[in-house]
Symmetry: C2
Subunit: 342 residues, 2 copies
Amino acid sequence: MSDKRIVVALDAMGGDNAPGEIVLGALDGLKRSDSLCVKLVGDPAAIAPFLEGQEYDHDRLEIVPASEVIEMSEPPVAAIRHKKDSSIVVGMNLVKNGGADGFVSAGSTGAVLVGGQLVVGRVRGVDRTPIGVVFPTAKGLALLIDSGANMDARPGNLRQFAVMGSLYMENILGVKSPRVGLVNVGVEEEKGNALVKETYELLKETEGINFIGNIEARSIPYGEADVIVCDAFVGNVILKLYEGTGGALIGMIKEALYSSLRSKIGGALIKPALKGTLKKLDASEYGGAPLLGLKGLVVKAHGNSTRKQIANTLMQTVTFVEKDIVNKVAGALGASSESKED
Amino acid sequence: MSDKRIVVALDAMGGDNAPGEIVLGALDGLKRSDSLCVKLVGDPAAIAPFLEGQEYDHDRLEIVPASEVIEMSEPPVAAIRHKKDSSIVVGMNLVKNGGADGFVSAGSTGAVLVGGQLVVGRVRGVDRTPIGVVFPTAKGLALLIDSGANMDARPGNLRQFAVMGSLYMENILGVKSPRVGLVNVGVEEEKGNALVKETYELLKETEGINFIGNIEARSIPYGEADVIVCDAFVGNVILKLYEGTGGALIGMIKEALYSSLRSKIGGALIKPALKGTLKKLDASEYGGAPLLGLKGLVVKAHGNSTRKQIANTLMQTVTFVEKDIVNKVAGALGASSESKED
């Protein structure tokens, strides 16, 4: 590939809206970035109809055949081990062998996580590879790490999440000296369960991060930290409750607006102003989430991604490659991503 | 005390707004319920000025002197052991010795929890005494249990929380066969960390509860369960994030409404309709939270309670006594609250 070309392998078969929305998202992505090349991984017969009649730069789009699909419900370890010709395994092998700069999938989160570790491999020195999800707060964007990969994490894992998250916010989103907060039940140092108490001690001693101490969940939406560190169980609760509370509240407000003629008129008047606010809060605007700590770039897109979100995730992946996030994480955690050992 | 009288000991010295708002809340409570008697526990010299000039039934309000105050920042175990004449210890001893039917405090959560266990004592057979907090959802009220007492809980503790929570919702809020959900990262049985996987198995086998399986955090605000079971760390995150997300979102909407003349007019028109919705979501409408599994009734009010919330909590406490929640929990968990053993 040429100097400026960035090749992204894209799982055409993964996600609720595959392959149609995935393929259309790839085409949108190609229009938005001239340096992007996409390798659509999957069943050519399923992909082809969505390309028919479309105008695009044929030099920058290639179909890489994969005959199998890993279903959402399959146990991830067995699926990765046995479905060697699945779109996920084929796509990840492209990353491993230099055939792509990164891999994007909206498929089974479990399979993507397991595939990342078994196929692409962890950077030496990294014990767990978290998912970092960027989400909107009242003050801008924050990174929630780990938001779904590692149940039953240990304090040392959370320390690495803090380092990786800081690198991410600094390099990808340009936040200088990002504020790292540890999710806890109170701000005082002695608060919390065994995991966070030990993690607190480790984070205090970790050089190169801007640890601001414990943060309570209530201050997350107000943007009091840029990097929000927690184990995956808590991260999952935060992410989903954030989504659910926003949705439920907006639903209740809409209901209230329909309750009288007066409020209906008012609702029509505020619509344009509210739209901007709601868009700011829409997590789908922010694309996918990279798995950090792998030897290659793997990005998980939301399972229900539409073409818009796929295109956004591809744009984000281009940035990850340009900013060399994989090697920066590897460098910070004491090993090179070139290492073949684990 | 007469048959119909319900005596509540009230910590006059606990909380951000003590003693003023606590005393005024007691007076409001006396007006709202004829069967309520309040024993204000604390420094008579600090309490007296707030009673001066007020009209109230002197037969139903008594000051019980306590010379010490447990501060928010004090280590709870040492505080309860050493400050024998603190308002919390004196108030709890009233419950223990039959001088009151219940105790309400807006003071240090840690001290109230420890005092509950050391002074009032746990029901035999109950390993941990959770805090159950009632909060609003799109469909009505739900109980979050444990929402702040037991870090690092075990599966057996969570099973007891489910039983206690069901009794609470059925007896206090009149929900028939309340739906019990276990907070998890997915709805599938095999999901989650070690704690919830084991808890799931226990809940499946627990008779007398309506276990509906795992629930994801995103469905909590929609009211998909009546009793939401989790350990205290997760419960704390849920409660505080719920509060924070609602607050941040409403703040952003208000900001949007002020962004143009058009939206300002719209905002004015929708105000009455929105007010009802926001009131429904205001957790302070729902009073305090009982510590379940103790031999006597202890209710924790929010630290920043105002007179309104104190009065609401007193009304709620009257209901707890009338519904005999303490003995119902004791009965269900295999021991009598009369037992002096632990």
